[in-house]
């Protein structure tokens, strides 16, 4: 089928290679979807949708989802899933929020503390999954319930409001023409992309998700690496909790409830395989944006609330179906 003896010597040029890669990129469909949906929404909503301001609004709304989606992408690369993210946000919000309210927690330290608490919650997930062998869906379903229970127990009917300026700045301040929350989310995404695409860690989690036996047969410490994805997801949930607290200028026992399904939908939509081994951080970024754009734009069409919900749900199914279609018919 090919006459080349040594493929490296006659490797295709960089340009054709990258074009070829783009053609087969797992996020191709979602990228096309973005353009199509953007054009349609612009056409039917008049002047309000297609403005810089509105696009920034979409990004700002998506920032919390994006931070979580980066962690979820790493987890799903290993073939796992974490549905406890919303509940982890609740716990971090309860502890950090109350600490800030009573003045026991220094506002500058709050960022570090939020991430550390989140990472610890994630580590518990990782332990249950890799050491006790509980399947990820059930392990995180357990903590989904337990962490929320803790939050409600800890917070009761309390509502933390009027957080320190440093915390609200994380959610509200603008830096270099964009909300700080958007910068934070983009930086996390960039770091996630680097880790996934350019480091051993990315290779190892891909190998684990692709074929755990293959990974185990090598020097890769499969358990530790798998567990670490949940730790990272937890740490990012801590960061997301802080951004969310800053945005709402408050924390309550309900914080983060229901957020996880939104995040998982965005990640799968972006082209990450639900069963592990294939993932794309760029796709995740685009997937989060597509859902944000739809939620934002559908309201602006003036469609009734129920119609919006129907369209949103069906479009998500259609987009995921397209993803799977590409995977089946495509070269990979």
């Amino acid at each position: 089928m090919n006459e080349r003896i040594n493929s490296v010597e006659t490797a295709p040029s960089r340009a054709t290679l990258s074009l070829d890669r783009l053609r087969t990129a797992p996020f191709l469909n979602v990228a096309v979807a973005i353009v199509v949906i953007y054009v349609i929404l612009t056409a039917i909503t008049g002047e309000t949708f297609n403005t810089v301001n509105n696009q920034i609004t979409i990004m700002r709304a998506a920032s919390v989802f994006l931070i979580l989606a980066v962690g979820q992408t790493l987890v799903m690369t290993t073939g796992g899933i974490d549905i406890s993210t919303g509940s982890m946000i609740g716990v971090v919000g309860a502890i950090v929020g109350s600490g800030l309210e009573t003045g026991m927690l220094d506002p500058v330290l709050a960022i570090l503390v939020a991430i550390v608490i989140g990472a610890a919650l994630g580590a518990f997930n990782g332990f249950n999954i890799t050491v006790l062998g509980v399947p990820p869906l059930l392990a995180t379903l357990g903590t989904f319930v337990a962490y929320r229970g803790f939050t409600q127990y800890y917070m009761g009917v309390n509502l933390v409001t009027d957080l320190p300026n440093i915390v609200t700045a994380v959610g509200r301040a603008w830096v270099l023409g964009l909300p700080l929350a958007v910068w934070v989310a983009l930086l996390v995404t960039l770091a996630g992309w680097f880790v996934l695409q350019r480091t051993l860690y990315g290779r190892y989690i891909t190998a684990i998700g692709s074929n755990p036996k293959a990974a185990e047969a090598t020097r890769i410490n499969v358990r530790a690496i798998t567990a670490s994805t949940y730790v990272i997801q937890g740490g990012l949930a801590g960061l997301a909790a802080l951004v969310l607290m800053g945005r709402l200028n408050s924390a309550s026992a309900a914080m983060g409830e229901g957020i996880e399904l939104h995040v998982i939908a965005a990640v799968v939509l972006g082209g990450t395989y639900l069963f592990g081994g294939r993932s794309t951080m760029i796709g995740t970024l685009l997937g989060v944006y597509v859902i944000g754009m739809l939620e934002n734009g559908l309201i602006q069409t003036g469609a009734g609330f129920f119609v919006q919900r129907m369209i949103l749900g069906l479009l998500i199914i259609a987009a995921v179906a397209l993803q799977l279609q590409q995977r089946r018919s495509g070269p990979v």
């Binding site: 490797a11 480091t199 293959a214 990974a215 047969a217 020097r219 690496i225």
Partner: protein
């Protein structure tokens, strides 16, 4: 020469014809000696005092029915499921193989039947998986030296006379033979691979693919690679082995020089018709 492991050695020799034994005496220390391995799974004795030797550069085929103990033996040698009792000596030294990592460190590599490739990684990533050269060291977050990996992979594949047109594509896209080649390439990439164990290297391949894989094994033989090859297909076994060991019910019932035996003999040994086989 046998010293303290006399009994084991005798157990080994008992089943072998005198001619073999004489030759054995003349050669130097064998590369691998497996002495009196026992392995139980509950009440089942999967290995019942198995002993085996392989000389340097030799290609030994391991044949036998399903459940004869071939996989268990390989898993013991590879450290996946260490044996309960018995000894393994490599290059004349006693070694302890309690995990795949121990085996790897000693230069024992197994290419499993299911290939154990990470389908969504490319050829070089698979060849180097878990053992990547790095450009920038930072633990798990080290940056691998992709260029070096590509060059070395190409060199390895060339040494094996394998052609993979698009090494940057995920290995899921490769044919069965190419995947087998990648798996073997991974195992022999490092110069210090003492022993290569191939578990059913030709299973589930098309005719043309089988031919390529056999040619690959032949290349390895010419390069002096010591190998254990497990196979069901006697045709293949006869084309690439120097010696054939037959397992049955957890024991090695016979070892024969490939040149000096017929397929019919081997089949008889496999099914337990020992009388017929001993000419």
């Amino acid at each position: 020469m046998f010293g303290p492991r006399d009994s084991a050695a005798h157990a080994l020799l008992r089943l072998r014809p005198a001619k073999d034994r004489e030759e054995e005496m003349q050669t130097e220390t064998p590369l691998l000696e497996v002495i009196d391995l026992e392995k139980r799974f509950g009440g089942v004795r999967a290995l019942q005092g198995v002993s085996l030797t392989i000389a340097e550069g030799e290609s030994l085929a391991l044949v036998g029915d399903n459940g004869a103990g071939k996989s268990t033996l390989v898993k013991a040698i590879a450290g996946v499921q260490p044996a309960d009792t018995g000894q393994i000596r490599l290059g004349g030294r006693d070694v302890s193989i309690r995990s795949p990592k121990d085996a790897g460190a000693l230069g024992i590599e197994v290419v499993y039947q299911d290939l154990a490739l990470a389908n969504s990684l490319d050829v070089a990533a698979n060849v180097f998986l878990g053992d990547e050269p790095v450009r920038f060291r930072m633990g798990w977050f080290s940056v691998p030296d992709v260029r070096k990996m590509a060059t070395e992979t190409a060199a390895t594949l060339q040494r094996l006379r394998i052609n993979i047109p698009e090494p940057r594509r995920p290995v899921a896209n490769l044919s069965g033979g190419q995947r087998q080649a990648v798996a073997i390439g991974r195992s022999i990439r490092k110069g210090n691979r003492e022993l290569l164990v191939l578990d059913e290297p030709t299973a589930a391949l098309g005719v043309e693919e089988v031919r390529k894989v056999l040619a690959l094994i032949q290349t390895l033989r010419e390069q002096g690679q010591t190998m254990i090859i497990i196979s069901h297909d006697l045709e293949h076994v006869f084309s690439v082995s120097d010696r054939i060991a037959v397992m049955r019910q957890g024991r090695i019932v016979a070892t024969r020089r490939t040149k000096e035996v017929t397929k019919t003999d081997i089949v008889r040994l496999i099914v337990g018709d020992l009388e017929g086989a001993t000419e």
